[in-house]
Subunit: 325 residues, 2 copies
DNA sequence: CTGAAAGCGCTAACAT
DNA sequence: ATGTTAGCGCTTTCAG
């Protein structure tokens, strides 16, 4: 065991390289308007490596007035393979701009988003959907810029997804839709949003609102729901997400109902399992990587002072038509 | 648009409350060994509320020498519903101890874990499985304590999961096992670990190593794999995870094979869909919330200087027996 | 091209 | 019980 070995500081590096802390800072930050001779730069970098030096984030942000940290708020529901791709792309794009991403699972008790933001001193908070006003205000007071993905049409993404599900079904000739609600209470908010989108599309087409049924990830429950929809002459159902849709498909098989003949089903989110369902599940997909990239651009823009008045990006949800519809 | 309204500082609060910054600090931190009169405390708190003041994390950690931030590294693969429950419990428990959790999706290019750690100045980095030595060392040099979940038996969790899958099957009388490998290359490492556990259990029971087949989340591919296993007189297969298992179940149906009669299947991770599969999927579950709690305890312990020599916690994987086996 | 000096906002001795 | 005084490690004018 080495003695607790105090962490190396910028001053240590300066000493080791025979320069001042200022020079170290210049080298490490490529401070513009400075011409450091190659030799000096090399010596500094060498000392940095030697000492395993990493600037302390807190000192940096305190002195500079801004950190290079971006905080992403993930609604705890949408944790899934899609989000992962998105987060990775987002992180990568941010890294290219010298920014560091960390994420916060929202929704749980404990630390609120503004608390976390203040704790890590993030300069930007990003979120897939808008935050409520109080939170947004608190965040801004905590000194953070806010960046969201926003629909061009000013439709929050979730609602738009529901619309797409329904429109797809309606285009196919269905006149009476069902909606499969998720079980978990924390999903309720998003589910309501998504269903609102479905209802809008129905209204727009002159149809009744969808017949919403509470469901569970349980084959028996799903079988029952499927029969109920049939009884009410529903011919197609929008599921809250792909998991619910897949469970519904299973329940239908149990009830000896086929898709899309007896009941058409469309999911949401396009999880990998959707293609391996029987029949393969139609669903709503996003181009998450694109979103990751453009959200990163929006962050960079926001940091450069240009507050883009225009929506930075769209999740660009779109229908993936497969056999269940 | 309000003028950029400089963020309130501790000094602002002090002024507004008619006290010194020290007192503000004392009140906000419940600094032990200080007896602040109720009246003063009230005034300070009032001013804090009034100004929407939140201490700046970077200044705090710089002055105090340690931050209250904990960084969790999530292997980008294991993003799933289970992890979510875990993260939430972990965050909640940490919050009770006054600590703030943020997470980092590991594996992606861009920022390395030590980079992120230094950027946010985390005092503790937690991870579900051990980190490689270089990373661990870099992290320690960056001033962070490290906390992992560790098996009592010193078996990394992933390998232990594989053992459990196999032992379960072997107990049931199966003598020739198959292993369903995932498609994604990034999953390979964990898959290898899990399969190693399966191989160990086989060896221990005097059986041949499992017949590993590469699979995809695709019904046709799975149907083919299932036939192949049957041909090689495999009677039971361990799937990399529940998704793979569910897809396999679907493929088997397509191939007119039943579970567990023609081929027994056991998954891993216990995702919610596992119970809604047909037949309901046997799998390996964790008590993630327990893990979240004890990992938080370990963090707190580590921060109090007691470096627990004993493994802080175990993921406690266990078999969930359902109809597919 | 490089260094000296002044803080950033907060905490922690040390007074009082 | 509260204020004074130093810094924490870094960036950033401003001189040289």
């Amino acid at each position: 065991m080495t003695p607790p070995a105090k962490r190396a500081t910028s001053a240590d590096v300066a000493r080791a390289a025979g320069v001042s802390a200022t020079t170290v800072s210049y080298v490490l930050n490529d401070t513009p308007g400075q011409s450091i001779p190659e030799e000096t730069r090399r010596r500094v970098l060498e000392a940095v490596r030697q000492l395993g030096y990493r600037p302390r984030g807190s000192a940096r942000s305190l002195a500079a007035g801004r950190s290079d940290v971006v905080l992403l708020s993930i609604p705890h529901l949408s944790i899934g393979p899609g989000i992962t791709r998105f987060v990775e792309q987002f992180a990568t794009s941010l890294a290219q701009a010298g920014l560091t991403l960390v994420t916060h699972l929202a929704g749980a008790p404990g630390r609120s988003l503004p608390d976390v933001c203040a704790a890590i001193d993030a300069s930007v908070v990003a979120s897939l959907d808008p935050l409520d006003d109080d939170t947004a205000q608190a965040l801004r007071r905590a000194g953070a810029d806010l960046v969201f993905t926003t629909e061009v049409e000013a439709h929050p993404t979730m609602r738009r997804m529901g619309r797409l599900q329904a429109e797809h079904l309606i285009d196919l000739g269905h006149r009476r839709l069902g909606y499969a609600m998720p079980e978990h209470p924390l999903l309720r908010r998003i589910a309501d949003d998504r269903m609102r989108g479905v209802a809008e599309a129905c209204a727009h087409a002159g149809l009744e609102p969808p017949l919403a049924l509470d469901t569970k990830l349980d084959t028996a429950v799903m079988a029952r729901a499927a029969r109920r929809w049939r009884r009410e002459s529903v011919t197609a159902v929008c599921a809250y997400n792909d998991e619910v849709a897949i469970a519904l498909l299973t329940g239908m098989r149990r009830a000896r109902l086929t898709a899309p003949g007896d009941l058409a089903v469309v999911g949401a989110d396009d999880i990998p399992l959707a293609q391996a369902a029987e029949p393969p599940l139609s669903t709503i997909a996003f181009d998450l990587e694109k979103v990751g990239r453009s959200l990163a651009d929006a962050v960079v823009a926001s940091l450069s002072g240009r507050k883009p008045r225009l929506p930075p990006t769209s999740m660009d949800p779109h229908v993936v038509h497969r056999a269940s519809t």
